[in-house]
Symmetry: C2
Subunit: 361 residues, 2 copies
């Protein structure tokens, strides 16, 4: 990025985590094509394609890795043909973020022991790409000078019980990058309200930067079992990698990096990001990213006509024309052969629908 004051160091790597299954958006995202590979917002590009294009402005293709389920290798290739084949890390089973990050860190450390590693989700929405990339570069520079584990925090815009919250040390409040005092995963509503009102807490955006040696050291300290499964391996970056991974993955702990390491480490920092962020994790989040009419109806298409209706969310194929008349509080989603209509107060149920259909067959 020519406008950036901070050039990208040569041994910096970016890992795109694409292991999600996105069942909250069924049928728009589904087991064949999870959310990260979908274009829920009808931008013309899937989330992962957008993520790739964004970070490829600073990372060359050979230093971008995608880690995803083995069954998504093909769709990843199709959506990011620029990526070298060896840069897709295939997980034989889902094992949460600590394992997935350890796998990537071990692979990268075998290329360069002094490498820095940026870890980003594949399915988030970013409003200001330039601000985001500058923050990444600032974060890389910080961990290279300072060490430690850096996570990105977002100033909360509402009371939200589905995110992790980060509290910075009082003495460091207001600094762009500050030492972390506490982590709290998915608080209950009352606590989330306190966090929101105090102004001292940030949402954990799931964006991490560290030197690979530091994350491996912290994994050794806090998740020794995971560390030891990778210790002394000679298979990564060789033809034996897939077999090795398939052998050990089932034994790896099913724990998030937040719970497994960040909450325990005393070396955690947070960069307060200000680039416009949404994890697009719920239909509510989808709604805030789309235009709403005067009755709070949201659709992803100009071909949806609302009459005498309010608080509806609709996501249908672009070529579809819909008339929604005299109804309230519905989520309406359609893709391929699937149609889903759900009352908004039942949104939490949507993630079970695909499974229910499977068991029905």
């Amino acid at each position: 990025m020519t406008t950036s004051p901070t050039p990208l160091p040569a041994d910096s790597y970016c890992v795109i985590m694409a292991g999600g299954i996105g069942n909250r958006f069924w049928p728009v995202s589904n087991a064949q094509c999870p959310k990260q590979f979908s274009d829920i917002l009808h931008t013309g590009k899937s989330f992962i394609r957008q993520t790739y294009e964004r970070i490829s402005r600073i990372f060359p293709d050979e230093r971008i890795f995608v880690i995803t389920g083995a069954e998504y290798e093909d769709i990843t290739h199709r959506q990011i043909p620029e990526l070298p084949c060896g840069n897709i890390l295939k997980e034989p089973i889902r094992r949460n973020t600590a394992t997935c990050i350890m796998y990537a860190a071990e692979k990268i450390t075998k290329i360069s022991e002094t490498a820095t590693m940026v870890v980003i989700p594949s399915d988030h929405f970013i409003t200001n790409d330039n601000a985001y990339l500058e923050d990444l570069l600032d974060g890389i520079e910080f961990v290279r000078r300072n060490g430690g584990l850096l996570t990105f925090g977002i100033t909360p815009s509402r009371i939200e019980t589905q995110y992790g919250y980060i509290q910075v040390r009082a003495a460091e409040a207001g600094k762009k990058i500050a030492a972390v005092k506490t982590f709290t995963e998915k608080p209950d509503y009352e606590l989330a309200q306190k966090f929101y009102e105090s102004g001292d807490f940030l949402w954990n955006a799931g964006i991490f930067i560290w030197q690979v040696k530091d994350i491996i050291l912290e994994t050794r300290k806090h998740l020794y079992d995971l560390y030891s499964l990778f210790e002394n391996n000679t298979s990564l970056n060789t033809p034996e990698e897939e077999e090795f991974i398939n052998t050990i993955y089932g034994q790896c702990p099913n724990v998030s990096i937040d719970v497994g390491i960040l909450e325990k480490s005393n070396q955690v920092y947070v960069l307060q990001g200000n680039f416009g962020w949404s994890d697009v994790g719920t239909w509510h989040a989808f709604q805030t990213l789309c235009k709403q009419d005067e009755n709070n109806n949201t659709s992803n298409s100009s071909q949806v006509i609302f009459h005498n209706s309010r608080d509806c969310i609709i996501n249908i194929p672009e070529e579809k024309i819909a008339i929604i008349y005299g109804v309230n509080d519905l989520i309406i989603a359609e893709k391929d052969n699937y149609l889903m209509i759900c009352h908004r107060k039942e949104e939490e149920e949507i993630r079970n629908f695909e499974k229910q259909l499977k068991f029905r067959k």
Copy 2:
């Protein structure tokens, strides 16, 4: 029909009226494919195909006519390839049933002045084909012996304001074929309730039988303008027919046979039909013809799953799979590129939707 006691007289003709536009079922029926050409009940056959197959058990193809909008000539041919091309009567514009019946009667009288003519709608649902055909044959025999205009009546099964009601003369009550005392088109609710409770009234099913000379005579008496447009024509059943029809049709009165002739004539009889009838004129009627689950949900497909929902009606393509969760009182219909979701209390609005979309373009 070999089981019938009454053989079909050689100069009997059947006219299938297929001029409707079926906009109450949009988008399942639409301007390209109105209700009569649709298979709303997912039986595997359109209404008009079912109608044709039913009456072709007693009428040979050359004595079956379909009268429909000129734009539906192709779809009629495709759905009833057995029909001779000349047996499709093309209306250049919609002109209600009096004109449409006069056109067919004039055509048939030029083939045989002593002919008898059965007029049936193309888009009704009949439960008992044998009983229906026997009633047609009985009706034909009656008008050939007795003359007059015979209409078919159905014993009302609910208070209904959308139909015409027929009252028979007290002295003839209980007879299979009885002289008519009064006609009342679409009464208000209070009157419909009285009709229903009295037990003296029948619904007008829109099925008529008469000798062509009688209907032409009655048209001359009650709709002289219409009669005179066809009087002395030499074009019907010649290559000039289409041009002739296109020239006069705009001048023909836009009136139903019920209002224009039957209500005024003193020669009207009613045959009390008992063959299981529905005009499938509303989604409510659709619902009564389909299986309902324990929460009064109706769908045309086994691939629709209702959870925690009641009183919904859904009609979607066969290959579609739908999950309907936590909603009540919806009509959900989908076809081709169109999706419609409407609260049941707004059902009357549906007929305007296609027009609204047209004006929007």
